[in-house]
């Protein structure tokens, strides 16, 4: 189905071309290129490694290693006031999943050193007169110091401790002390999260990885496919045969569609069985919509390879394309957190839209209707890229 549709697109372009009128798209020649690419793919161990290796490595790194809601952070406690309240606070910290009390300090200086040396992420100081002031209703300070070098690492924990200290202390203020229970805190942190109430990063990251991996590998595959022919001199030979640009381009796209699907399936299996990501929506729908996204990026690769002089340049262009994709698509950072201009750039990238589609289908159970607003930008992108690619493809060596 895919290639029939695409060949129609190609023919449509050529019908408008000037030189191309003479001979139409030939399915047999196109098929010759497809077969050749398949054989070469099979022999090229590097491509094979990329096909399987990139998803595996990224799954391991992003799925297991990278966590946007880190827990069990090393924490030091300096309890200058050895009272019931401070013991309760330390006990509560120990019980929370965010803080691991790894050290107990005996002075303020010691705390400072531990933080400076990075031995702990957090340090909690219970001041000398903490319980006395608390009982007098003077609202004493409980000092939480954080190594905020990486703000993302401490954000969740910081908000957690606010809640924690309040509720824990309140529990100890019973009987006549009940009147001392702190009123509403000067700030409140309301967390109300849908779809991933436990804040499990993998639920968000693993489906996103599918889109990111496709963006990266698809562009590379076709980007290298044409520049490799030019670099090894086989392009001269290919151009001297009757083969048509559309046949070469489509012939190079089709085998990699299959590679794209292998990756999609690999990640879906990993999502389900390794990361237990809840798959709420329709997998067949996702597979159908993925085709558009895969072909769009293969077309980007083709366009790059017509612009690049050699494989190295095509590789660089791929990296250059990958960077805004990973930063501005909402994969790494929340899309709504970006300034307007960055969101505008993000909206032009197919990855942004496909991320919404994948997360929408897998996590929210979205159907075609909900996906439609993100489908047409990808389709538009594909048409633009294919047009540039075919227009730029030289039929001579001039």
């Amino acid at each position: 189905m895919a290639c029939v549709h695409s060949s129609f697109v190609i023919r449509h372009f050529f019908a408008k071309g000037v030189r191309m009128k003479r001979y139409a798209f030939n399915v047999r020649r196109f098929w010759a290129v497809v077969i050749k690419e398949f054989i070469q793919m099979r022999r090229d161990r590097m491509t094979f490694a990329m096909m399987i290796g990139i998803p595996l490595i990224q799954l391991t790194l992003f799925g297991y290693a990278i966590n946007s809601n880190p827990k069990h952070l090393p924490t030091a406690v300096y309890a200058a006031d050895n009272s019931q309240f401070s013991r309760t606070i330390v006990w509560a910290l120990r019980n929370s999943s965010y803080f691991d009390i790894t050290r107990e300090a005996r002075s303020e200086d010691e705390i400072k050193t531990m933080l400076a040396e990075g031995k702990v992420q957090f340090a909690v100081t219970v001041p000398v007169d903490f319980s006395r002031k608390l009982l007098r209703g003077e609202k004493p300070d409980l000092l939480l110091e954080a190594d905020a070098t990486d703000p993302a690492a401490v954000g969740f924990a910081m908000s957690a401790i606010n809640q924690l200290a309040l509720t824990v202390v309140n529990r100890d203020l019973t009987g006549p002390l009940a009147k001392l229970r702190a009123g509403p805190a000067p700030f409140t942190i309301t967390t109300h999260q849908h779809y991933n109430p436990e804040n499990i990063s993998q639920y968000n990251i693993v489906p996103g990885l599918m889109a990111v991996i496709l963006t990266m590998t698809m562009v590379m595959f076709t980007g290298l496919a044409i520049t490799r022919e030019r670099e090894s001199g086989t392009m001269e030979n290919l151009l001297s045969t009757p083969v048509h640009p559309g046949e070469v381009i489509m012939g190079k796209i089709v085998p990699y569609i299959m590679v794209g699907y292998i990756q999609v399936l690999l990640i879906l299996v990993a999502a389900k069985f390794l990361f237990s990501v809840p798959i709420v929506g329709s997998v067949p729908l996702l597979l159908v919509l993925a085709l558009l996204f895969i072909v769009a990026h293969l077309a980007v690769g083709i366009t790059f390879s017509t612009l690049a002089q050699n494989q190295r340049q095509a590789m660089q262009m791929g990296m250059f394309f990958f960077l805004p994709n990973i930063l501005l698509s909402g994969y790494m950072f929340p899309f709504r957190g970006m300034p307007g201009w960055a969101q505008d750039i993000g909206e032009c990238l197919p990855l942004t839209h496909f991320l919404r589609i994948v997360r929408g289908i897998l996590l929210k159970g979205n159907g075609l209707t909900e996906c439609a607003p993100d489908l047409w930008p990808i389709a538009l992108f594909l048409v633009v890229m294919l047009t540039i690619g075919i227009k730029r493809y030289r039929q001579t060596l001039d």
């Binding site: 001269e236 001297s240 009757p242």
Partner: protein, 309 residues
């Protein structure tokens, strides 16, 4: 013979890269079934000319026919009837011999493709090696594969760009025998080469330097047109003699060959006057026919004088 009887009949072919004229106003007529040698120093425009003939480069000027088709407008049709063998091996090194042939056969949409590939493997003696990767073949075998692939669609014209560079003498001889067999069957061959022995196996020659055609015709005609007088010298202490006569008026080339030296010049009288004092008993001088190589080097020097900028 009328114009349309030529396999290649082009006039005023010109190609410029930027301000540099690489092929300058070249005329060429090649008869069907002829092996036409195309000679000239590196960078003289031979490859560019071949590429224009098979539609790989767009000419900036010129007109004419290739296989009865307008070589500037009908390049799509010409491609189907021409076999072009590039200077550098340009088949897929990660495909086997058979896979390469099969790919090319598919691109040309050859009817009875499998049989054609089989025939091609047999004719070139590659049946046992069919599944060997092209990248692992030696230079001679790569060249045979390239020729087989160029011939698989039974072209009417073969364009060969230095096909025998880096190939051993035996393989070269076999290659030329094959070319002569093909030409006898009616195939027209335009071949570029740097080897003089190969030049002399061509039916006719053209010599190009700095984009300009300097000489053409049969080997004898080219040698005659070169107007070179050559003396062969035997005798004692030839290196000393060489030093003495080199640079004398009329002495244009002094070339050592093992036990002899060749002394040549275009102005026969001046040359004779210069060498006369050395015609002693110590050395034996004979006037011989100029060699093709001497003629070409002489042509190139002349061209350098005429076209140097």
């Amino acid at each position: 013979m009328s114009a349309s009887d030529f396999a290649i009949d082009v006039r005023g072919v010109t190609k410029r890269f930027g301000t540099r004229t690489v092929v300058n106003n070249i005329d060429m007529q090649v008869r069907p079934g002829e092996i036409y040698g195309f000679l000239g120093p590196n960078g003289s425009g031979k490859t560019t000319f071949l590429r224009m003939l098979c539609g790989l480069l767009t000419p900036d000027g010129g007109s004419g026919q290739c296989l009865g088709l307008d070589f500037r407008k009908d390049s799509a049709t010409i491609k189907k009837r021409v076999g072009y063998m590039t200077q550098k091996f340009s088949f897929y090194e990660d495909l086997s011999i058979q896979e390469n042939l099969d790919f090319i056969a598919r691109l040309y949409e050859i009817p009875g493709r499998k049989a054609a590939v089989e025939k091609s493997l047999e004719r070139l003696g590659m049946v046992e090696r069919r599944s060997q990767l092209a990248g692992s073949l030696s230079g001679g075998w790569k060249q045979r594969l390239a020729l087989a692939a160029c011939l698989i669609h039974e072209p009417q014209l073969l364009l060969l760009d230095e096909p025998t560079a880096g190939v051993d003498p035996k393989a070269r001889r076999d290659f030329w025998d094959e070319l002569h067999r093909l030409a006898a069957g009616g195939l027209t061959v335009l071949i570029t080469t740097h080897y003089m022995d190969e030049a002399s196996r061509c039916h006719r020659l053209a010599y190009i330097a700095y984009g300009n055609l300097l000489a053409r015709g049969t080997v004898d005609e080219v040698v005659k047109a070169g107007g070179l007088t050559t003396w062969e010298v035997f005798g004692e202490n030839l290196p000393a003699l060489e030093d003495k006569i080199r640079g004398l008026p009329g002495v244009e080339q002094v070339v050592a060959f093992g036990t002899t030296i060749h002394v040549s010049g275009r102005d026969a009288e001046k040359l004779r006057a210069s060498i006369a004092p050395f015609m002693t008993n110590a050395h034996h001088w004979t006037k011989i026919e100029a060699g093709l190589e001497d003629v070409f080097i002489s042509l190139m020097d002349t061209a350098k004088d005429n076209f140097a900028q």
